[in-house]
Amino acid sequence: MTNFPILSSLILIPTIGSIFLLFIKSTEKNNSIKYVALFTSLINFFLSLYLWKLFDNNISDFQFVETRIWIKNFINYKVGVDGISMLFIILATFITPLCIISVNNHVKIRLKEFLIAILLMETLMIGVFCSLDLIIFYLFFEGGLIPMFLIIGIWGGNRRVYSAFKFFLFTLVGSVLMLIAIIYIYWLSGTTDVEQLYNLGIDSKYQNYLWLAFFSSFAVKTPMWPVHTWLPDAHVEAPTAGSVLLAAVLLKMAGYGFIRFSVGLFPVASTDFIPLIFTLSLIAIIYTSLVALMQDDMKKLIAYSSVAHMGFVTLGIFTFTHQGLEGSIFQMISHGLVSAALFLSVGVVYDRMKTREIKNFRGLVNIMPKYAIMFMIFTLGALGLPGTSGFIGEFLILMGTFKKSFLAATIASVGVILGAAYMLWLYKRIIFGELLSTIKKEIMPDLKRDEIFILSTLAILIIFLGFYPEPIIKTYAVSIDNFVDVYNSKIETNLVEK
């Protein structure tokens, strides 16, 4: 089994599944289509778990590396995983089946095409996290625009066209600058192979511009203030499964990109730009938390909370400390679970009431007790209560930030309080109080079986990781140690050269 191309299989299986789907006749019942898609994504999930089992935690190098000649003397197809990317692959393969289970409730038209788009998205997401060549990375990173554009545009809400365009064009603007940087790196170093580039290093006089070009792409995708405006629109209009994929996995591409490429390739420039990142992250944390307080739409509120949470992630990454980086990765995984869960929870009430306005809900606890419990767990996870996965990420990030800047850590802590405020207030307004007279019991039954399955899976994971984060931390610990060491040594050599 040692030569089995496990990563390429992970990338290809969803695509093969979607090609199968093409040839299945879609009937009224639609069951066979859904089962084929679910089956495909589950195979991928178990394969990725197997990959995790084979993965050696004690090695910081890339593992399962596959290299194939793609364009002769130019670009090689190269994939591999290390501790940093391993968990994101699991996250992607874990979230996709949940999305597919959840489609029953909210995708009424063109189910087949929807499932094909989701499976293609999975291919591209896994591709992003395991590619070890800048151009291959770019292909996967940009290719994701096409299915996501269609998911928002075809199956979205009323303002879907506007949102889809905004999403597409914002992301494209950032990315084309990154493409220029990637091409220039090729001419500077003669390769786009990430491993070789780590060893070669890039001359520090070019790093600033290249860093900015990469930053423009990742900042839009993260999203960072002030280019975050596409996210609330895209989230609100996207169908539930689309929002889940966006929040849980797509945003993580940027966080991953910051670690792998911005910091990994341009350590000197990254250090120079710490003030910029800190400022933008802190603005994102405080400002978007305040904005979230004022939202009328549940999805929009959660979307803004995503921006705030991603602000913590970028803050953590650019502390360049063990705690900061570990916290960032943990926060991304945790946010992937929590935000997916929150969007699915909103989807539950939206499917029943066809509205997401907060003022249309009150006192759901009276008729939906199970839902109230689930939503409580996710709310607590989102505000980072000890005992949920949200706590560990934020705590580690704040620890790392304290080491670098007392002021930044203080401001970020205020953000934690604001986070608690808007989440608890949201919970209070929807769940507690007297039942609103417009809500009928007949149209608002409690959770159905599949909903319980999806939400409880997520809830158990969120609590489990809150009490026992070891499996996650163990996976990336060695890689992060090595990553920070390499970073420090590169900074030192640069200082010596100066």
């Binding site: 793609w70 364009i71 002769k72 770019y138 292909l139 940009e142 290719g143 625009l145 096409i146 554009f149 269609l150 545009g153 075809i154 879907r160 066209v161 889809a164 365009f165 597409f168 064009l169 494209l172 603007v173 084309v176 600058l177 493409l179 220029i180 091409i183 220039y184 090729y186 001419w187």
Partner: protein, 468 residues
């Protein structure tokens, strides 16, 4: 001794044109037969051309056969074949199926291949005019239609003006270098400024043919007015020939003046990219839209030529090849929008296409994303290679402008996708298409979609060409 073997494709086409004309005159209702024969003529010419693999110059070095020209000729023949294949139904229904139609196409083909091989200003001019004259008539072929007559006349007047400028440029070059031969010009010229003036005039004429801004005014009107079967041709064939001549002209006799003409090409390139992208946003007619789109695509193709390197030329040729494939796919889609023998060509007619015609809509989707340059489709690689060459020469301004205009351009391609996929459905279109248009659509879409698996399938032919 002149070895006529090397110009066998040219001789063959000339003879076939005469034979077909005679058949057409003496045999009643033979237009369908002639159309079929002209496929054969193109295929046989391609076969002959592929077999000629030597480098050779003829007629006192005024006609040059080399790898570059053979490659371009092959491309021209293949493109012409597909153009005729995909537009047959349209021609039949639109009542253009007269004997002159295929013969005029063959005439312009002949002109193009003469242009491509020319190594002398006069030969080049003869080829250019033969090509253009046939195209004037083709543009006005739907003579009962006001728009078509207008476009033919407009194209003729403006084209004649640009030919005049071009000819004046040729005479200046001749006057200051005493020769019309490309190779001797660079050795001979005594007074640099005179030759530069001449070169600029010739460039203007050629820029008109590729519809680069600011010489693009004719393109939208002609594209819209001509019958769609002719628009396909306009969008593809003359651009190959004219771009090839630009390469031969600039990188042949005037390579020493690189620093002089580089700035002109950079201007043409940037202006075309920006105007093509911005002006297309408001268009409602698909043919007009694709005219602006092709203006901006020519801007990208010219960007490769600003580098002054072989990499740049190769990237332009890759761009050109992929551009042709994408256009073929786009027009094949367009030629399928037929309901009760009427062809539809407005953006709004596509509304909700994806519900009734999922496969056609999917092809449109692929083509439009590819035209917008989104990976992993072929259109992305076309731009990728061009910008590889441009960034290698550290021309960041051009690269940044170019890539940002792709974002603007993405907007109007997305708008069409929006109409196809997000809007309300309309009546069905016909589905009884002939084999030709289906084949050309399937062929080109699959190439676009799967190009990324092995880009070398197309690139290998181009990467062996060295012009400098």
């Amino acid at each position: 001794m002149i070895n006529l073997y090397f110009i066998l494709p040219e001789i063959f086409i000339s003879l076939s044109i005469m034979v077909l004309l005679i058949i057409g005159v003496f045999k009643n209702s033979s237009s369908k037969l002639i159309y079929t024969f002209s496929y054969l003529v193109v295929i046989i010419s391609l076969a002959i051309n592929v077999n000629i693999s030597d480098n050779f110059s003829l007629f006192n070095n005024s006609y040059l056969i080399d790898d570059f020209s053979s490659f371009i000729k092959s491309i021209i023949f293949i493109t012409a074949f597909f153009v005729m294949l995909c537009s047959y139904n349209y021609v039949k229904i639109g009542n253009f199926l007269k004997i002159e139609y295929p013969i005029l196409i063959l005439c312009s083909l002949l002109g193009m291949i003469v242009m491509v091989s020319s190594n002398d200003l006069i030969v080049f001019y003869i080829g250019l005019e033969l090509q253009s004259l046939a195209l004037y008539v083709l543009a006005a072929f739907n003579r009962d239609n006001l728009l078509s007559s207008e476009s033919g006349l407009k194209y003729f007047v403006l084209s004649a003006l640009s030919s005049g400028l071009l000819l004046y440029g040729c005479s200046l070059i001749y006057g200051f270098s005493n020769t019309t031969n490309f190779e001797e010009i660079s050795r001979n010229f005594s007074f640099e400024y005179g030759v530069i003036f001449g070169m600029v005039f010739v460039l203007v004429g050629l820029a008109f043919k590729v519809s680069a801004v600011p010489f693009h005014m004719w393109a939208p009107d002609v594209y819209q007015g001509s019958p769609t079967s002719v628009t396909v041709l306009f969008a593809m064939l003359p651009k190959i020939a004219a771009l090839t001549v630009i390469i031969k002209f600039l990188y042949g006799p005037f390579l020493n003046l690189f620093s002089e003409w580089q700035i002109i090409i950079i201007f043409l390139s940037i202006a075309s990219m920006i105007l093509g992208a911005v002006a297309a946003i408001g268009q409602k007619n698909l043919k007009r839209l694709i005219a602006y789109s092709s203006i901006s695509h020519m801007g990208y193709a010219l960007a490769g030529l600003t580098t002054g390197t072989n990499d740049g030329i190769q990237s332009t040729l890759i761009y050109l090849t992929i551009y042709l494939i994408m256009n073929l796919a786009f027009f094949s889609c367009l030629l399928m929008l037929k309901r009760d023998d009427i062809y539809y060509e407005n953006v709004q007619d596509l509304s909700g296409l994806s519900k009734k015609h999922p496969i056609l809509a999917f092809c449109f989707l692929i083509v439009l994303f590819s035209l917008a340059g989104i990976p992993p489709l072929a259109g992305f690689f076309a731009k990728f290679y061009v910008f590889m060459a441009v960034i290698k020469e550290e021309m960041f301004f051009l690269a940044i402008v170019g890539l940002l205009t792709t974002v603007i351009a993405a907007f109007y391609y997305l708008r069409i996708i929006k109409v196809i996929y997000f809007d309300q459905e309309k009546e069905r279109f016909d589905t009884n298409f002939n084999f030709g248009v289906k084949f050309s659509l399937a062929f080109s879409t699959i190439l676009i979609l799967l190009y990324f698996i092995n880009p070398n399938i197309i690139n290998q032919f181009i990467l062996s060409i060295s012009v400098i």
